[in-house]
């Protein structure tokens, strides 16, 4: 459990972390389990679902989960600190709408992209300001900005769609590496995954995020700039969501205000399925990636065997509940309930 990091001063942690204990943690927790489930599912589906194991289908599958994984990267960090950002999909929509409107009004794409990323930073900083400066709960704040940003997207673009983006850009967005079927965007995505993984699992910042999630007070007493860190996490989430909005627009070749509606739930589902606790303080990036891939693969395979979309939603929902309930139940059977809230008080007392 990542819990043991909470009482430890952040600075000392990295020295002992990457040793045997981290490897044990990987196998023993949701991270490892969900990865095994993913591998097992991929094997079963390859042999039983016609058309699943082919290069073309791999490309289809990956294209469907690229944006989910992209946004899950910063959002995982946010969730680990015990916060949430529900406005990510609306940020995608607003970015897409602004991108469309700017392109429509004749600006060059090279200029539009930085503007969109800047917009993402602004949207994220609004969340960050409300949560860290005004001390409002992130759930309430981002439910608000979820509606606000989506509403603004419709103000910007209405029910129009802007679709005349240059062919070279839109085909790049869906092109694959040689004949492997793997989309080219997977490469920059992998770079971001590695960066996020290193930050989360091998730097003091990453340790600090877990510490915050376990006990904000304890983290603050250990000298961690809790508010500053969370603020910048929201900003980064905004920027990455904007990046997702840009990619979404190019991938579908169409800027619309309703782009990516409901995507936030898919991202959060992947994060929870990946073994990250919604209360913060535990979970890892590998599990999240595996969770996103598992959700995407299940959906893809069931579609291939003609399961109707309503049933698909039911399956996804059940999967998620099982994923959340199983570790809780397991802990319960072992006779120790998850010491989520209670230890916070005694542990913050000593310093």
């Amino acid at each position: 459990m990542a819990l043991d990091t909470a009482p430890t001063p952040a600075g000392q942690v990295p020295a002992q972390r990457p040793s045997t204990s981290s490897r044990l943690r990987l196998l023993g927790t949701g991270d490892g389990v969900i990865t095994l489930v993913l591998i097992a599912f991929l094997l079963v589906a390859s042999f039983t679902v016609e058309g699943f194991a082919s290069t073309r289908n791999t490309g289809f599958l990956l294209l469907d989960v690229v944006v989910i994984i992209l946004i899950a990267l910063p959002l995982t960090l946010v969730v680990i600190t015990g916060e949430i950002d529900l406005s990510v999909a609306s940020t995608v929509g607003l970015t897409s709408a602004v991108m469309g409107q700017l392109w429509f009004s004749g600006l060059p794409l090279e200029l539009i992209l930085p503007i969109c990323l800047l917009l993402g930073a602004v949207l994220g900083s609004v969340n960050g300001f409300l949560v860290t400066r005004l001390g409002l709960p992130s759930l309430a704040v981002t439910i608000g900005t979820l509606a606000l940003y989506r509403g603004l997207a419709f103000v910007v673009l209405g029910d129009r769609a802007v679709a005349d983006f240059p062919r070279s850009w839109t085909t790049w967005a869906i092109s694959s590496i040689g004949s492997t079927g793997i989309p080219v965007v997977v490469v920059p995505l992998l770079v971001l995954v590695v960066i996020t993984g290193v930050v989360l699992h091998a730097t003091p910042i990453g340790r600090a995020l877990y510490a915050m999630g376990n006990s904000e007070d304890a983290a603050r007493f250990s000298g961690i700039g809790v508010h500053r860190t969370k603020f910048w996490l929201f900003v980064v989430t905004g920027v990455v969501s904007a990046l997702g909005g840009i990619y979404w627009t190019l991938r579908y070749g169409s800027a619309r205000a309703d782009n990516a509606q409901g995507l936030e739930l898919q991202v959060i589902a992947a994060i929870l399925l990946g073994g990250v606790s919604i209360f913060g303080g535990s979970g890892g990036l590998i599990g999240v990636i595996a969770g996103a891939l598992l959700l995407g693969s299940v959906r893809n395979a069931l579609q291939l065997v003609n399961v109707p979309s309503d049933v698909l939603n039911i399956v996804t929902g059940v999967l998620l509940i099982v994923a959340v309930v199983t570790p809780q139940a397991a802990a319960w059977f072992r006779g120790r309930r998850r010491p989520r809230v209670r230890p916070a008080t005694p542990k913050s007392a000593p310093p």
């Binding site: 290069t55 679709a163 004949s179 291939l304």
Partner: protein, 361 residues
């Protein structure tokens, strides 16, 4: 053989197939590349010229992908398609997202591509967002028919247009003329002031009425903004402003049902004629109680039926989607492809007390 020029993706895909086949052969698991194999053979067939005498093969996989599932309009349209596919001895399937979004249609198109569908009949949630997915499906050998809502013309083979603007406009004027004896004051209750479709129809209605029914006078056009409440109030306003009013035409389903509700509860019931575009389910009670004699709308079942036949004809090579080609669509008779690969279903269906119970949408 234009496929060499048009589609690097096909070649890339084939190399991919080879790699995948190697990998999968070692795992003793065949059949995963079926869609791609079929794709190659029928894909090259598309560049050949049309052969009107080609037989439609049995067992064509014809898939309907509506804007969303559980939408009554598309349920009826797809039902028409299922009937046609049955007549053609094909394999019918209906897939689609539970919410009408463009991106969710893409993943269903990808699935159909992967399954090796022969014909994809779809109504696009976004004219461009599903284009690249449809391109991929077509390079995989599928024929793409759009109905109700078109994509960009270069993303599909043919588009089944429910009706021409002329057909819609003239049918409504003719219905009104029938009901008021071709003479008197008529008002139009439209959707919003900038609704593209409605404005185009109203223009044609005015010209057509002036030519054909000189005694019919279109006195005004009011806008209910496709809101039930506002349409209701506008109807009330019309009857107070124009005491001599003989009839109201409402070329929008929201407007006509609101107007019917007002009329049926007022002294004007049976005195002021009402027609326009409405669905049988929303208008049934007003036809039965005598408020409305007849109204029109295209029949979505016919739309799906024609789309399935067009898809089969494409797949068999009877047509390629070029202007002037002809094919037969079962009970609906013969059709000719118009400009930009458009096929017009025909004049709207007129619903009245005699036939309204035959329809459920």
């Amino acid at each position: 053989m234009n496929s060499f020029l048009t589609s690097r993706r096909v070649r890339g895909g084939l190399t991919g197939v080879a790699v995948a086949a190697l990998v999968l052969a070692t795992a003793a698991c065949g059949g995963t590349t079926r869609g791609e194999d079929e794709g190659d053979s029928s894909g090259s067939g598309s560049s050949a010229s049309a052969n009107p005498d080609a037989e439609i093969p049995a067992g064509l996989k014809i898939a309907f992908l509506p804007k969303q599932l559980n939408n009554p309009y598309f349920a009826v349209a797809d039902g028409g398609g299922e009937k046609a596919v049955g007549e053609l001895k094909g394999e019918y399937s209906e897939v689609g997202p539970s919410e009408a979004s463009a991106s969710s249609q893409v993943s269903y198109i990808n699935t159909l591509t992967q399954q090796g569908a022969d014909v994809i009949v779809t109504s696009a949630n976004d004219p461009n967002a599903i284009c690249s997915a449809l391109d991929q499906a077509r390079s995989g050998g599928a024929k793409v028919v759009t109905f109700d809502s078109d994509t960009s013309p270069d993303c599909r083979d043919v588009f089944i247009n429910q009706a021409t603007a002329e057909g819609i406009a003239q049918t409504q004027i003719d219905l009104m003329a029938d009901q008021i004896g071709g003479a008197g004051q008529v008002a139009i209750l439209s959707a919003t002031a900038n609704a593209t479709n409605q404005n185009a129809w109203i223009d044609i209605m005015k010209k057509y009425a002036a030519d054909k029914y000189p005694d019919m006078e279109i006195v005004t056009t009011v806008y209910g903004d496709d809101e039930d409440e506002k349409s209701f109030q506008e109807t009330q306003g019309l009857l107070q402003t124009y005491p001599e009013l003989k009839g109201i035409i409402s070329p929008t389903t929201v407007g006509i049902s609101a107007a019917a509700r007002y009329l049926s509860g007022s002294e004007y019931k049976g005195q002021v004629a009402l027609t326009g575009l409405g669905t049988p389910n929303q208008m049934r009670e007003f036809v039965k109680d005598g408020t409305v004699t007849a109204f029109a709308l295209w029949n979505p079942a016919d739309l799906g039926y024609l789309a399935a036949y067009a898809g089969a004809a494409l797949s068999a090579g009877q047509i390629t989607g070029a202007e002037g080609e002809k094919f037969s669509a079962g009970d609906l008779g013969d059709y000719e492809i118009g400009k930009d690969g458009e096929i017009v279903l025909g004049d709207p269906t007129v619903f009245n007390a005699d036939n309204i119970d035959d329809f459920d949408f």
